[in-house]
């Protein structure tokens, strides 16, 4: 207790120096915690937002070989899929069946290319919650030919809710078709400078693609707990393998373009690229019926190179951490060397009055520990306050970074390990920085210390 009082007193004697050193430690902890929180929030929000937009955390796509031997992206009989989902007992929140094509929109003399996803617009569809409308309403989707287009597309076409647009597309077998769609609403684009997709009624999309009315191309499964995606996918994969021909998982995308260019490259729809891969995987070999592939939201984010983006942010965080650690360790060593010089005679007096070598060393280390604790608490509190204040900020859905936000607000996710690990490292280097001057202080002979001249 005596040492603690002494340590507090010593720190208080050089308030400015203690404040600066503690501040450096606090700043280091704050920056590292904030960057970790930002990267965690970014990864979580992107994953959640993409899941919501694409209608699932787990996806099943099928390639059917027709009587003429042609491979088409189609699931026409989903009895086996239904029983596999039921048997796997995965926690299903909602199942979305969708058909997709990439079409060229025409309105007067303007044109734009956009993917069109055909889904069921029932009242319970989560799509109603996840699409933010800039114009029009979901009521217009009661019209079989209703469509919700993205803001960028609407701007390019100079079209608005209530207009009728023509869409040029290819049927499932590659024939040319022109469909008439009625713009029910214009949605805010999800950011990242992409328009992503327009949404229409599946039955109408199927008719345009020359697909059977109740067929679809992709089954999306939204889980009650998205954190269990991998386990649920493994369970479902086992159940599916017992019933249908399941192709190997999606090959991981490597290197190359970053997110935005990836989206544009695949007609602004990552599912298009996945489908192209699936067609290749399904192969030309002699088989009958349908071949399926199961993929997860991580596979899609992998194709969009999001893990690389998150990895880059974490890399930046690590570099910042190293730089800050170097600053802290150099700062602590220098500060305690100055302290040692200033207090040499005082140390001599304390040693003459009976304080042991270990006592002198412990006093120095205790001062460093108190500085670290004060810095850590302040840094964590500052990071918490900063993240809380930033998460109160509200952004317009049209903002380019909307996909990185949660409901229009920035959010930060820091795991306990991401808090504890920097604290341990900063704690160790602070104590190490203080240890060298403390050992020198403890090694001083009382006579030499008392006669030292500064």
């Amino acid at each position: 207790m005596r040492y603690i009082i002494l340590a507090f007193r010593n720190l208080g004697r050089q308030k400015r120096r203690s404040f600066l050193l503690g501040g450096a430690i606090a700043f280091g902890i704050l920056v590292v915690t904030f960057v970790n929180g930002f990267a965690g929030g970014l990864a979580g929000n992107l994953e959640q937002n993409f899941s919501q937009l694409l209608g699932g955390e787990i996806f099943i796509q099928g390639v059917e070989k027709t009587a003429s031997g042609r491979r088409v992206e189609l699931i026409s009989d989903d009895q086996a899929l239904g029983s596999a989902i039921a048997d796997s007992r995965i926690p299903v929140r909602f199942v979305t069946k969708s058909s997709t094509f990439v079409g060229t929109f025409f309105f007067h003399t303007n044109s734009a290319v956009q993917a069109v996803v055909g889904v069921d617009f029932s009242e319970s569809s989560p799509l109603r919650n996840r699409l933010s409308l800039a114009q029009g309403s979901f009521d217009g989707m009661a019209d079989p030919a209703g469509i919700i287009i993205g803001q960028q597309t609407a701007q390019r076409l100079k079209a608005q809710a209530g207009d009728t647009v023509l869409v040029q597309l290819r049927t499932i077998t590659g024939q040319m078709n022109i469909a008439e769609f009625h713009v029910a609403a214009v949605r805010h684009d999800p950011g990242l400078s992409v328009s992503f997709a327009a949404y229409a009624n599946r039955a109408y999309v199927n008719a345009q693609e020359n697909l059977p009315a109740d067929a679809y191309q992709q089954l999306g499964i939204l889980l009650r707990n998205p954190g269990e995606t991998d386990a649920a996918a493994a369970e479902l994969s086992r159940a599916l393998s017992r019933r249908v021909t399941l192709l190997p998982p999606l090959p991981k995308a490597t290197g190359g373009n970053m997110m935005g260019s990836m989206l544009r490259q695949h007609n602004e729809n990552p599912m298009g690229a996945m489908m192209a891969d699936l067609m290749k995987q399904a192969g030309e070999g002699s088989y009958r019926g349908t071949r399926y592939r199961l993929s997860t939201i991580d596979d899609i984010l992998g194709r969009l190179q999001l893990p690389q983006v998150i990895g880059a942010i974490n890399g930046i965080s690590f570099v910042i951490l190293i730089v800050l650690f170097l600053i802290i360790v150099v700062g602590v060593i220098n500060t305690f060397r100055i302290v040692l010089n200033e207090r040499t005679r005082e140390i001599g007096t304390m040693r003459a009055l009976g304080m042991q070598r270990g006592g002198v060393r412990n006093l120095f280390l205790l001062e460093a520990l108190l500085l670290f604790l004060a810095g850590a608490v302040t840094g964590l509190a500052g990071a918490g306050l900063l993240m809380t204040l930033l998460s109160l900020a509200s952004f317009d859905p049209s903002t380019p970074a909307f996909m990185m936000l949660r409901g229009g607000h920035p959010s930060f996710i820091v795991s306990p390990a991401q808090i504890v690990m920097p604290l341990i490292v900063v704690g160790i280097i602070t104590m190490f920085g203080a240890w060298l001057p403390a050992r020198r202080a403890a090694a001083l002979k009382p006579v030499d210390a008392l006669t030292a001249v500064h």
Partner: protein
């Protein structure tokens, strides 16, 4: 009296049995299946075919763009090779249709990738299949026909429908010259029977027993104001080495 009536009935029956077909024949009813076969026979070559194609494409608000390329065809094998000559940025790029696969060769990356004959050609209203042999008789059947004139030519106007779901345009309306069975105009319709593009064939060049449309005008009926004019020059039917229809040829052209 009864005998007179009976004689009239017999006369009527005899007229219907003998006279009506004669009158029908007088209306010049064509064998529509033969007409489609004729279209293929007139424009597909039994030997090899080489020509230089130039397309000038115009889109509203844009400068006209020009593309030039050589086409090598061996219709009996369903083979075609295209080598881009201009613009400079695309010079050396090649396309190869062989064994029902259409390949694109990029000399910069030196890689081949799959392409489709059904795709639009460059940024024009033409399609890659417009340079290829025709398959009217195999891919289309006549739904209805009528007679008319196009310019100074008496024509058969045929409404044709795809016989399979692989044809790019499921419906077409074509104007075929009555005298020599050449295509003068074609309207391409989507599955929803909406007019997508109109192609005019105002000039033909006779090469032996066959004809080549050496001037075509393609109008985009959706993207109003967009059109492509296509001209063909340096036509040759000299035999080509087999090598012309291989991937190695595309690679060698660029060395």
């Amino acid at each position: 009296m009864k005998a007179i009536v009976k004689r009239h009935v017999w006369c009527a029956i005899a007229f219907l049995a003998l006279g009506a077909p004669a009158l029908w024949a007088g209306s010049d009813q064509p064998d529509t299946g033969v007409l489609l076969q004729q279209l293929d026979q007139m424009t597909n070559f039994s030997g090899d075919f080489t020509a230089e194609y130039t397309e000038i494409s115009q889109h509203p608000g844009q400068q006209p763009a020009a593309y030039r390329h050589n086409v090598y065809r061996r219709d009996r094998d369903g083979a075609m090779t295209i080598i881009m000559l201009s613009p400079d940025s695309q010079r050396g790029q090649g396309y190869l249709e062989v064994d029902n696969n259409f390949w694109f060769y990029d000399p910069e990356s030196r890689l081949f990738s799959h392409a489709s004959l059904k795709q639009s050609w460059q940024n024009t209203e033409a399609m890659s299949s417009d340079f290829f042999r025709t398959t009217w008789a195999k891919d289309y059947a006549v739904e209805s026909w009528s007679e008319g004139t196009l310019g100074v030519y008496p024509v058969h106007i045929l409404n044709v429908k795809g016989t399979n779901d692989q044809v790019t345009f499921p419906f077409k309306k074509i104007w075929v010259r009555k005298d020599i069975g050449l295509l003068l105009k074609a309207e391409d319709y989507s599955l929803s029977r909406r007019l997508m593009r109109t192609v005019y064939y105002p000039q033909y060049l006779q090469v032996g027993d066959h004809y080549v449309a050496n001037h075509m005008l393609i109008i985009d009926n959706l993207n109003v104001g967009s059109k492509t004019e296509l001209t063909i020059a340096n036509v040759s039917t000299a035999p080509l080495p087999d090598y012309t229809f291989t991937k190695a040829f595309l690679q060698q052209v660029n060395r």
